[in-house]
């Protein structure tokens, strides 16, 4: 029988232990506070709480795991299987039990550091959720029955507090999860609103009845109606011109009935009206979106008045340009053609004078006539050149395959280079698709220039080519007198020659024609040269 003093001590301890339970809904704090008092007052070596994994997670394993240990350095095993002695004993007896070191099963209970063959354990079930395991190293025998019974109610209360803590924790996690979702939703809503209101297009949404539900800042700018003015209004009567309203209403009804809408999900150009009643062109795309309570339609609209104006202006300019170009071409053709007739007459007259009056005008007069005929020939060549040049822009010749090897052979035959002149090819040339006659004209012109202006005793021209991604690149290289860099641009300009026309017979049109032909073949021409060091003309022609 306990003494009155001892009973008071026990009650005091139970009182203190009871009040140490449930002081916090935090699992750790709740356990820590209880364990601190329990270990100190009961002079225990350690205490641990084990909880069924299913209590913490409904889909957890069929095991038990440590929830709290004090002191923590004792913790060794943190998991216990269903077939463990402790679990089996608790299942069988459903009551607390104590085992001291003298019991042969004692080692089966050891899951902690520093427990040797001494002391005693006591294990309490924690309702259906787990158990409390206590150890006192200084005890020689088991915990007394009355002692175990004393703590039973306190431990039950502790079990309830653990359940409450776990529920609280789960509730907090769930609440936090919902808060996070709500926060993300709010963030997204803000983000969408920002995008909506900063969009460069007018964005308008309407419901199945055609009532405006959203109206962004750009819509305000484009149509002149503020969101307050527009939201709640019927779209058709607000911005759709009278002549399109019926089609709009019909289209909506048709879509809601059949799910089909020919103008949906594509860009169309149509007209709309603004607050002042002005009708103006817009680009419009409408996307139907389905929600639980039906469809809504999102429309993206862009005022294309300025673009339309610009397009109109461009069209007019192009037409004008075409007209002027045609006039110019015709002018060059007509002028050239009309000039040729008097030239022919002058030429014929000069021949007649030479034939009929050669003796009368004497040798000096005949020389003057030869000069006159020369100038007439040059003038003729010039007019032919202008005609040819105007033809290049005017007449498109069909593209055809051209074997450049054969062409070059023909060109060289016709040019008939002098015996001291060599024209060589580095490698076999390709067959290309081009305006055959024009490209032959290019090669002929460049090679004949190289021969004509060569000042060396042993002159040569070297022809080469390489293949690029989209073009062929050709080169015509000679060992002639070379060209100063300052003339590189000038030589491609019309009527420009570097030598006196009397020294070399030249119209100054050849390279201009070459450049134009190459540009019509989407290529470029350039020159690399130094005076007295030869010249290379290189050019590209697009692969067709």
């Amino acid at each position: 029988m306990k003494t009155g003093n001892r009973i008071v001590q026990d009650i005091s301890m139970l009182y203190e232990l009871s009040l140490s339970i449930g002081t916090s809904m935090d699992l750790y704090e709740n356990c820590e506070k209880f364990f601190k008092i329990l270990i100190s007052r009961k002079n225990l070596t350690f205490a641990s709480v084990w909880i069924s994994s299913k209590t913490i997670q409904s889909d957890g394993l069929d095991t038990y795991q440590v929830l709290h240990v004090s002191p923590r350095f004792r913790m060794l095993d943190t998991q216990m299987e269903q077939d463990h002695f402790i679990i089996q004993t608790l299942k069988e007896h459903k009551a607390p039990f104590s085992i001291s070191h003298s019991n042969p099963v004692f080692p089966q209970l050891i899951q902690e550091h520093g427990v040797e063959n001494k002391g005693a354990f006591v294990v309490y079930p924690l309702k259906q959720i787990g158990f409390l395991k206590l150890y006192a190293s200084q005890r020689q025998t088991v915990f007394e029955k009355i002692e175990v019974a004393q703590l039973k109610s306190v431990v039950n209360k502790f079990a309830t507090s653990i359940e409450a803590c776990i529920s609280h924790h789960q509730l907090r996690e769930e609440t936090q999860r919902r808060i996070n979702i709500q926060r993300r939703l709010r963030d997204n809503e803000i983000k969408l609103k920002l995008i909506f209101n900063t969009a460069l297009d007018a964005v308008v949404t309407i419901n199945e009845k055609g009532i405006i539900t959203d109206w962004n800042t750009q819509a305000h700018k484009v149509f002149g109606f503020s969101p307050e003015d527009a939201i709640g209004q019927e779209l058709g009567s607000l911005i759709i011109p009278h002549q399109h309203r019926e089609a709009h209403t019909r289209g909506m009804k048709h879509f809601l009935k059949t799910g089909e809408g020919p103008v949906l999900n594509k860009r169309i150009e149509i007209t709309a009206i603004n607050r002042t009643g002005l009708e103006f062109p817009i680009e419009l795309s409408i996307v139907p979106l389905q929600q639980e309570n039906g469809y809504f339609f999102s429309a993206f609209l862009r005022d294309i008045s300025k673009r339309k104006e610009a397009e109109q202006k461009k069209e007019e300019l192009l037409e004008e340009l075409e007209y002027v170009n045609g006039e110019l071409r015709d002018f060059a053709y007509i002028v050239s053609h009309d000039l040729k007739a008097p030239l022919r007459a002058i030429s014929a007259l000069s021949y007649w004078i030479e034939e009929d009056y050669g003796e009368l005008i004497g040798e000096e007069g005949q020389q003057q006539l030869v000069l006159l005929q020369g100038r007439v020939n040059r003038m003729h060549a010039l007019i032919e050149g202008i005609l040819e040049y105007s033809r290049i822009g005017r007449i498109r010749i069909k593209m055809e395959a051209l074997d450049l090897n054969q062409s070059l052979d023909d060109i060289l035959d016709s040019l008939n280079p002098p015996p001291n002149f060599e024209v060589r090819r580095v490698k076999t040339f390709p067959t290309i698709n081009c305006e055959r006659v024009r490209i032959e004209q290019v090669f002929q012109n460049l090679i004949s220039n190289a021969i004509k202006y060569n000042d060396k005793e042993q002159g040569w021209v070297e022809l080469d080519w390489i293949e690029l991604d989209d073009h062929f690149q050709f080169s015509v290289k000679d060992n002639g007198q070379g060209i100063d860099e300052k003339h590189f641009e000038k030589i491609f300009q019309i009527f420009q020659t570097l030598q006196a026309k009397d020294k070399y017979e030249s119209t100054g049109i050849g390279l201009t024609i070459v450049k134009r032909i190459i540009e019509r073949h989407e290529g470029k021409i350039w020159v690399e040269s130094q005076p007295n060091n030869g010249t290379t003309f290189a050019f590209t022609i697009k692969k067709y």
């Binding site: 008071v8 001590q9 005091s12 301890m13 009182y15 203190e16 009040l19 140490s20 601190k36 008092i37 270990i39 100190s40 007052r41 009961k42 002079n43 225990l44 070596t45 004090s70 002191p71 923590r72 350095f73 004792r74 550091h113 520093g114 190293s137 200084q138």
Partner: protein, 371 residues
């Protein structure tokens, strides 16, 4: 080593002569009335690579006397480095890296000094115990001034600190004896409102009113302005611990609201008793502590470290010397020529064998060191 009427120069001279190796710890305990410039001592230790674990205490013990102006030094083999925990009241669980792996072939001792007037010593002790558990034996005490005004009282080679604790593992086995001899007078009383080391309410009433009524009735004395501690030193609180003496909590002051300020934590809802001491039982308990400690020693201990509570001095007054003599006599029965060395502390730190590490008050802790 004992330094009578310790000064900075005398301590520095002793440290020089002692020639500490890098594996040795200099445990320097100084009486609060010594004329010591602790910063200079720290600087000297730092400059000479001496690992210094030091505290300023109300007094030190040497042989059978206490010295308020003396100093004692114990040279002990250290294991690992000194750990200094600052801001003890607010951050007792500082993120300090403690040694994680302890040797398996020997038992270590953990020596710690704390600022005895810091308010979260329990948290600090829980932290250490949580790391090392019962793998080591603990010994230590609370430093500070008997004026009970908090001030710097912990020092290492890195400085002089207030509201701090220091800790070092010692490569030696220690046998411990812990006793106080105080007996239950009144109770139980329920601590219905408390925070750390301050009791606001007892039995749902003002703490001081309840305490005053009980103590005045038993002692026949009257609490008046300024005499609280002179009466309270004889009537500490005891907290129940099964199979052991009650853990003593010393009320050292009362504030203007009637809250009792104790050395060490008193948990809210704990049940306490008012204890009463008698000279004979206290002196006998000291002797018992020495006996308990000696009984655990396998070899003759080479050193001793006595942690005795300053409030025992205040209670026993002139008879305190008898307590030291009792300790000395008991030690001499087993060990020759070994003077007592120790401190009179504000709170004593030890563990009962494998039990929880506790802060005691009004208790004698005997540590016999075998290295």
């Amino acid at each position: 080593m004992f330094i009578h009427q310790a000064t900075t120069d005398k301590i520095v001279n002793q440290l020089q002569q002692a020639a500490f190796s890098e594996n040795e710890l200099c445990v320097l305990m100084v009486g609060e009335k010594s004329e010591v410039d602790y910063s200079s001592v720290s600087n000297f230790a730092k400059a000479n690579n001496i690992q210094l674990l030091g505290g300023m205490f109300p007094a030190v013990i040497y042989d059978t006397n206490k010295y308020e102006d003396g100093a004692v030094i114990q040279k002990l083999p250290k294991y690992g480095d000194i750990v200094l925990v600052k801001n003890l009241s607010t951050e007792p669980n500082n993120q300090h890296e403690l040694i994680k792996t302890l040797p398996t072939n020997k038992h270590l001792m953990a020596l710690t000094f704390v600022d005895g007037l810091a308010s979260n010593i329990a948290g600090y002790l829980e932290w250490i115990y949580g790391v090392f558990g019962s793998e080591v034996n603990y010994l230590g005490g609370g430093a500070g001034s008997l004026s009970l005004q908090q001030q710097p009282c912990i020092f290492t080679q890195d400085g002089f600190f207030e509201d701090a604790a220091i800790f070092c593992l010692i490569d030696a086995e220690v046998s411990l004896g812990v006793k106080h001899g105080w007996k239950q007078l009144l109770g139980p009383l329920v601590v219905t409102k408390a925070e750390k080391n301050i009791i606001y309410e007892l039995n749902w009433q003002n703490a001081f009113e309840i305490y005053k009524e009980a103590v005045e009735e038993d002692s026949g004395l009257q609490f008046e302005d300024g005499n609280f501690f002179s009466i309270a030193k004889g009537f500490p609180f005891g907290m129940f611990k099964e199979g052991q003496e009650d853990i003593v909590r010393d009320p050292i002051a009362v504030d203007e609201n009637g809250a009792l300020i104790c050395v060490g934590e008193v948990p809210e809802n704990s049940v306490v008793y008012i204890l009463k001491g008698q000279n004979e039982s206290l002196i006998n308990s000291a002797k018992e502590a020495m006996r308990t400690s000696l009984a655990q020693t396998e070899n003759s201990p080479s050193k001793n470290l006595i942690i005795d509570c300053i409030s025992r001095v205040l209670f026993l007054e002139d008879e305190f010397k008898k307590e030291l003599e009792a300790l000395d006599e008991e030690l001499k029965l087993s060990v020759d020529n070994q003077p007592l060395i120790g401190i009179l502390s504000l709170g004593e730190i030890s563990s009962y064998g494998e039990g929880l590490l506790e802060l005691f008050n009004k208790t004698t802790v005997v540590g016999l060191i075998d290295n």
